[in-house]
Amino acid sequence: MPSPSALAKLRIAVLPERLDANDWLATMETDPDTGAVASFLGICRADGGTLQALELEHYPGMAEAEMSRIAEEARRRWPITSILAVHRTGMVNVGEPIVLVAATSSHRAAAFDAVRFVMDFLKTDAPFWKREHLANGTVGEWVEANTKDDAARDRWTADGG
């Protein structure tokens, strides 16, 4: 049985080391009315073989606060019973997880929507920055913000969420 603290309905974590999605998902709260657990796992990709790792910098304190604020907003919008957001910092090699967001609810729609909402806002509002480390051993550029991410976030306000 998970400890009582593992049953908190909203959990946020910033991890300097390995993110094990299975370990985190195993601690998601379920009860007899839980019918859905939805999750998203973001992984460092090789970008055609050019990338070896991403180095993630964050603003300690504000990163956690923004993740909490976004997850709270999801909890306000949808009838979810628990929500989890975990984000890596430091060096993340190709193939390793960067971010995990998961939600539980009675029916799947709320859990799916809440996870997508949290990811869309986390991308644009949580203070994390990625820098590329290239397969040829050199340090690459800081990743540029993507206007598609702004559009994905704005979709939640443009259509009334």
């Binding site: 603003y59 960067i98 990811m119």
Partner: protein, 83 residues
């Protein structure tokens, strides 16, 4: 006022944080960016695209027109790229 910098803003300015006494005419986040740009080449480089950089006051996002007077900590950083 404590000012923190992150990612390439931090690298171009050359320090992660510093304490700065602000003149009276610095009221908003935008005023602060303009003030910092005049402090040296690194600042001017970091903040060249001044409309593009983001500001947080006491760990909350603010737009450039918002007053930062009274904040104990202000951070300046590029658009975020986490997730």
């Amino acid at each position: 006022m404590k000012i923190k910098y992150f990612a390439w803003v931090r690298e171009r300015i050359g320090v992660a944080e510093e304490d700065i006494t602000l003149p009276d005419d610095v009221e908003t986040a935008g005023d602060l960016i303009r003030h910092l740009k005049a402090r040296g080449d690194g600042y001017a480089w970091a903040l060249a695209q001044d409309k593009f950089v983001r500001v947080a006051a006491d760990q909350k996002h603010v737009t450039h027109g918002v007053s930062i007077r009274g904040a104990s900590e202000v951070a300046i950083f590029p658009p975020m790229t986490g997730g």
